[in-house]
């Protein structure tokens, strides 16, 4: 009863929701019709690229980065809208329809902003740090299979590659924290590294569970072997707790509340990127969202069958699952308070690590028998 | 006359320059020398137990500084107002911050605004640490009635007019 009072649904809001549903249905219908499109017309272009592997890879890289940038713009808008909805306000409303172009405006603002480097900063490190964060975030996306044939680099050790590359991002964050010559940033950077290294362990163990079950490290193979049943349905006893642990770790890996300690705004004044402004800040931001997309996509691949799903084309299914998981992360973020550093560490070492170890042993046993 | 005033007068009869007792409130005026022993008793005597420092301030009458303490006993909720007159040329009194830690900042404030020195205050050695509301390098004590602002040369102190 009281919820109704807090979020009174007026007639106009009902209409908005209806419009949204209709638009979503139209998009889905259009997507499901994509296999019927005359794709064969593109065949000469494909052939041209296949003959030139270097150009092919370059094109893939450009596509990936621009896809990420666009998706980042969309995700930021989505996050702000969602936060607004949760907090009983409107969110961005002025630039474009319902504020869709707000992030474009912000991006332009960030591009045009004066680039400030603190006088006493370690300048090379300060300049380098955003890219040290950005590049691993993009590299991890490389092995992520968006659909059976849309994958940057179908590496047979994809899971290992993704995990090891994503960890190196911590180096950039530490560099940012140290290079800025700001005490809050140093604290943030140190927190980030401690957090990333700790949460990496349960995360790797859970990934190992999936790898053991599916007997492959290739992400495409992991998805393909879930063709009939998603992992979470096929092995509910192992994979439901596994997915929960993975999700907690993922939140910590991408520094989202309740684990957003490295950039805790109320304590560390945004932590490692306190001193960053303009485009360097934007690069951190994009990298953060790329990490979000990667972890959510990774989770979709490991537990929710990747691109598998009825009716819709594979890419749509994968994007849908990823977006839903990102949505879940946002939901958690805007609801929960932040943990303290020691509480977060003990949560990892005293709960997640033993639990994931046990889960891994159980998985191994279930494979043997 | 209240029981509390009677009890204080038994012990400090001659030190009290002025005493007035009511049902909820007792007003005492003491000499600066008697302040410390009186306060120790006020704090520790279980029948008095004025453990709560409610307020403390000073004022400048032009001839002397008046220190004004307000204590509350948490057991009887009785209020005790203690007044101490200090000479204007050498305002110094014993610090009571060890009896009531809450007085620490109040004494700093009184030093800051009136220049009253509190012997035994933890920060008393260093005037810069004693300053609390005003900038550390402020000159003069602005709440004295004869204070005339002098521009210290530090632009952070604001554009003050010189006399």
């Amino acid at each position: 009863m009281s919820m109704q009072r807090l979020h009174p649904r007026s007639a106009s809001q009902a209409r908005e929701i209806l419009i949204g549903v209709v638009i979503a249905a139209l998009i889905l219908a259009a997507l499901s019709a994509t296999p019927l499109l005359p794709w064969h017309l593109l065949d000469p272009i494909r052939a041209y690229f296949y003959e030139r592997p270097l150009l092919n890879n370059l094109a893939k890289a450009v596509l990936l980065v621009s896809f990420m940038a666009v998706q980042c713009l969309f995700l930021i808008w989505m996050e702000r809208k969602f936060a607004g909805w949760l907090q009983a306000r409107l969110g961005p409303m002025h630039v474009g329809w319902k504020g869709v172009l707000q992030t474009f405006a912000d991006a332009i603002k960030l591009l045009l902003k004066e680039d400030i480097i603190p006088a006493l900063a370690d300048k090379p490190m300060f300049r380098l740090a955003p890219y040290l964060v950005f590049v691993p975030a993009m590299l991890t996306l490389m092995v992520l299979p968006f659909s059976p044939n849309l994958v940057g680099f179908d590496y047979h050790l994809g899971a290992l590659f993704a995990l090891s590359i994503s960890t190196t991002g911590a180096l950039g964050i530490l560099a940012a924290g140290w290079g800025a010559n700001n005490k809050y940033s140093v604290l943030g950077g140190m927190r980030a590294v401690a957090q990333l290294l700790s949460y990496e362990i349960p995360m790797i163990l859970i990934v190992l569970c999936v790898v053991t079950l599916k007997n492959t490290m290739s992400l495409t193979q992991i998805v393909e072997r879930q063709a009939g049943l998603w992992n979470i349905v096929a092995h509910p006893l192992l994979m439901i707790p596994g997915a929960l642990i993975f999700f907690s770790c993922a939140l910590a890996e991408v520094y989202r509340a309740p684990f957003d300690l490295p950039e805790a705004e109320s304590e560390l004044v945004s932590g490692f990127h306190t001193e960053y402004s303009g485009m360097r800040f934007a690069i951190f931001y994009i990298a953060e969202f790329a990490n979000n997309v990667f972890t959510a996509g990774f989770a979709a691949i490991l537990f929710f069958g990747g691109w598998h799903g009825p009716v819709l084309p594979p890419i749509a299914w994968f994007t849908l699952k990823t977006l839903l998981l990102i949505f879940l992360m946002m939901w958690v973020r805007w609801t929960l308070p932040r943990l303290r550093i020691d509480q977060m560490m003990s949560f990892c070492w005293k709960l997640l690590v033993p639990a994931s170890l046990i889960l891994f042993c159980l998985t191994a046993l279930s494979v043997v028998w | 006359m209240s029981a509390i005033l009677t009890r204080i007068q038994q012990q400090f009869g001659e030190a009290l320059l002025q005493a007035q007792g009511g049902e909820n409130e007792t007003r005492l005026t003491v000499s600066p020398d008697a302040l410390r022993p009186l306060c120790e008793t006020l704090r520790s005597d279980p029948a008095l137990a004025f453990g709560y420092i409610a307020d403390m301030t000073a004022r400048d009458t032009g001839e002397q500084f008046i220190l004004w303490y307000r204590l509350v006993s948490m057991s009887s909720l009785h209020t005790l107002i203690l007044t101490v007159a200090l000479p204007r040329d050498h305002p110094q009194v014993v610090s009571l911050a060890d009896l009531w830690p809450g007085l620490n900042w109040l004494e700093r404030e009184c030093f800051d605004l009136f220049g009253i020195r509190f012997a035994g205050h933890p920060d008393q050695e260093d005037p810069a640490r004693m300053r609390i509301l005003l900038p550390e390098d402020w000159e003069g004590f602005p709440f004295r009635k004869d204070y005339a602002p002098v521009f210290s040369g530090n632009p952070l102190h604001g554009p003050q007019e010189t006399n």
């Binding site: 009863m1 009281s2 009072r5 807090l6 936060a83 949760l86 907090q87 009983a88 306000r89 005490k183 809050y184 140093v186 604290l187 509340a257 309740p258 957003d260 300690l261 805790a264 705004e265 109320s266 304590e267 560390l268 004044v269 805007w334 609801t335 929960l336 308070p337 932040r338 943990l339 303290r340 550093i341 020691d342 509480q343 | 909820n24 453990g51 709560y52 420092i53 409610a54 307020d55 301030t57 000073a58 004022r59 400048d60 009458t61 004004w68 307000r70 948490m74 909720l77 009531w100 830690p101 809450g102 620490n104 900042w105 300053r131 609390i132 509301l133 005003l134 900038p135 602005p142 709440f143």
Partner: protein
């Protein structure tokens, strides 16, 4: 050759929290010595907002000083108005008409609600739960609308003056207020559940920043801070002013002394304030709202002080008069001043994140600390 072991120690880090920091609630500066993330020592530096209000008041007639008090505790300026108004009335022997007294209680309690709502929102934000902030500010907005209808201002009301309250309630105020309170009850329960039921919130608050009973007394803590440490010290009960002696309300007391206890005291106080407001609306008699004061107000020489319970604690005003038009000394006992004095004793040993939680739970307003 003998091997000696030397303990490797690294010098700690001195961190200046503030004066520009999102969670110091104004311009407070905490110089903290850190060992890793653990606080070794802390020295609060205040005075960044010192405007010399007390000195300015010495140069103005008594009644002209009321607007200054709006700038003391700017989250509850009506309560600050009350402190000086009461002191002026005591020094000049003025009696406030009964309706004026009721109106004062009413306004002060409404302002207390607004102030505690700010606490609720900012405290949750300090701990990372940004959403509660928006919710509590939405409720506060409605309170500000009501106060605007009454006083014409939204933050610095200047509406409790020496002698009473200048005007009566506007048309339909009681109905609007009752309607708000009816909804506010449910809203408050909901926000309380949202936070109190949250395990992370409790882990961040329970057992953090414990102020023992003895410490609270020795440092002069008052208000919700004292009541969170088990001291049933509420000026509205121990030295009732205006018509508080006729009001039925409870003083919530928790004995834990941690951030959670202080949070709970404030949430419970909001419920009690709603009770008082309802009683005021019900029982308020008709009549004058303001006593007549002479045009040239010259109180007899002497001194007077008032004791009021502001949302932050015991706010009292000390006035001394030499028989002229202006006071010779005005002094405010700001509760936040005492609470900040607790920090050097409380902080050593806690983590950086706890500093924010503790500071938030003390709910200080730097306007009244620095004056």
């Amino acid at each position: 050759m003998t091997l000696t072991t030397t303990e490797i120690t690294s010098p700690g880090m001195t961190l200046n929290m503030g004066p520009q920091h999102p969670s110091t609630h104004g311009v407070l500066r905490l110089v903290v010595e850190l060992d890793g993330e653990i606080i070794q020592s802390c020295r609060p530096v205040i005075g960044y907002l010192h405007r010399g209000l007390e000195k300015m008041m010495e140069a103005r007639p008594y009644r002209h000083n009321v607007p200054f008090t709006d700038r003391l505790d700017y989250l509850a300026s009506l309560n600050s108005n009350l402190a000086i108004a009461q002191a002026i009335e005591r020094i000049g022997n003025v009696t406030v008409p009964e309706r004026g007294q009721y109106l004062r209680v009413l306004l002060c309690e409404i302002n207390r609600l607004a102030s505690h709502l700010v606490f609720l929102g900012t405290f949750a934000t300090d701990l990372g739960a940004t959403t509660v902030f928006l919710y509590s500010f939405r409720e506060r907005e409605r309170i500000l609308d009501l106060l605007e209808a009454m006083t014409g201002a939204r933050l610095t009301y200047n509406w409790i003056r020496a002698g009473g309250v200048p005007t009566d309630l506007p048309e339909g105020f009681g109905e609007r207020l009752t309607a708000f309170l009816d909804e506010f009850q449910f809203a408050l329960d909901e926000y309380d559940r949202l936070l109190t039921g949250n395990r992370i919130f409790r882990a961040r608050c329970e057992g953090i920043g414990v102020i023992s009973r003895e410490m609270a007394v020795a440092y002069g803590a008052s208000g919700p801070v004292a009541r969170g440490s088990g001291i049933a010290y509420d000026i509205r009960k121990v030295a009732p002013y205006d018509v508080y002696d006729r009001m039925e309300f409870d003083v919530p007391v928790y004995t834990e002394g941690d951030c959670m206890a202080r949070y709970r005291v404030r949430v419970e106080e909001m419920r009690q304030s709603a009770r008082i407001i309802r009683q005021c609306l019900r029982e308020m008699p008709e009549g004058e709202t303001m006593a007549k004061l002479p045009k040239i107000f010259k109180p007899p020489p002497g001194e007077a002080y008032s004791r009021t319970e502001s949302p932050r604690g015991e706010l009292s005003c000390y006035l001394s008069s030499d028989g002229s038009m202006n006071p010779t000394r005005v002094h405010f006992r700001a509760p936040s001043f005492f609470h900040l004095g607790l920090l050097p004793a409380m902080l050593p040993g806690v983590k950086v994140a706890d500093v924010i939680a503790i500071l938030g739970s003390l709910d200080t307003v730097l306007g009244e600390v620095d004056r």
